[in-house]
Symmetry: C2
Subunit: 216 residues, 2 copies
DNA sequence: TTGATTTTCTAATCCAAATTAGATTATGAA
DNA sequence: TTCATAATCTAATTTGGATTAGAAAATCAA
């Protein structure tokens, strides 16, 4: 479909052909608009304008508004999953379970708070989007959920985390604490990393009592 | 506007006059529909049907779709705030700070998970609704936020919670963990109270290490 | 250049709901 | 009963965007 005979040099990120390139920028623009205005409030014309085209032209790249939002979410989920997984893989193999959780929390949160990022749009959209799209999306999220489930069950097996709480609840509570940040965070006072540390400290160490390791 | 000469007996809950009574049932129906279908997906005709009337008739009670959703949210926020505050007030004055936090967490979560409740609709709607409504709503939430802020700062002053985390972050993380539950919770496996206990255990005691008080 | 193909634009058309106007029915006081 | 007002209904009308069809413009291999 795309004739690429001509495009055979440069790195993988650059070399996508024109259609694919605009497709990407449409996705980026859509993510921003959907994120800012919500699924209901986002207009195709807004998205198109951000890319410098007219609403109708979007249909050359996407079949419909719904197809577009679904593409955004697919990409966002994949990005989140891959980024977190990569950060975990990059850890030395002897790193403790609690530290691994801490790293996962930081990685996820940084994606959530990344300005104009597709990951955060995805998170916000999941409960706004038509039910049918949501079903598919939630199904896809299982794989990412599994990553976290494993993180937690491994930690428990090793005795690194307490045994008296339901791990599904814990997992969702962590997701909630992190994802909610997409909504209230305003850049300035604190960096994503600082926020991640505080949330990790609370989740892992608990609020009650004195800190295990006094920070700073 | 409402002639109540005739309605001068019975308790306060019963005696609202017809208009006010249907207004209430419209709000309840709207909460359910908005909660289930999202702001974008909810149709006035669905809401009207649930009350047993036609879409047009809603306009006798509310100026517009937006006015309706805003009324739902106002009521939901007020309900949440009042319920949590009441539960805290009901506590003996010598109850410790950590326990007070625990109670607030339980109360909030039970509202969030209450089936067909206006509180939970409000929480879900906040990020779906048009920006202008959201602004007003977030402003109103400050009062409720202040309740939590006080809970946390009092606890810290008393040395009941660790001193090395930002309390705003903590507060929002707790809200996130609790509010997110509105989305994933399915009645059946666990009760809202059990979930609340696990989240409170994590937030207050931390995941790492053994539980302070082994449960059950 | 040229023609084929890809990409975008313009200008309808479509459509699902929100909204409104006026008619109709309920209700309760006299 | 009767009247006035409250509450609802019916049946348009409006509206804001999504979607589409066909006309331009851009791109590029030859």
């Amino acid at each position: 479909m795309l004739d690429q005979r001509h495009a055979r040099r440069g790195d993988a990120t650059e070399d996508l052909g024109k259609a694919e390139a605009t497709r990407q920028s449409i996705l980026a623009a859509a993510a921003r608009v959907f994120r800012a205005d919500g699924y209901a409030g986002a207009r195709l014309s807004d998205i198109a304008a951000k890319v410098g085209m007219k609403a109708g032209s979007l249909y050359y790249h996407f079949d419909s508004r719904e197809a577009l939002v679904e593409a955004v979410m697919d990409l966002g989920l994949k990005q989140t999953h891959e980024t977190v997984a990569k950060r975990l893989r990059a850890l030395p193999p002897d790193v403790g379970h609690v530290r691994r959780l801490e790293v996962a929390i930081e990685a996820h949160l940084e994606l959530v708070l990344a300005h104009e990022d597709i990951s955060s749009a995805t998170i916000k959209l999941i409960w706004q989007v038509p039910a049918q799209i949501r079903e598919r999306q939630l199904a896809d999220q299982r794989a990412y959920g599994a990553l976290w489930r494993k993180l937690l069950t491994d930690a428990r097996k090793a005795g690194a985390i307490r045994g008296d709480v339901d791990l599904s609840v814990v997992r969702m509570a962590i997701m909630g604490a992190l994802n909610w940040a997409a909504d209230w965070y305003k850049p300035g006072r604190m960096t994503p990393r600082q926020i991640a540390r505080d949330i990790a400290a609370m989740v892992l160490g608990g609020l009650a009592g004195e800190p295990k390791n006094k920070r700073k």
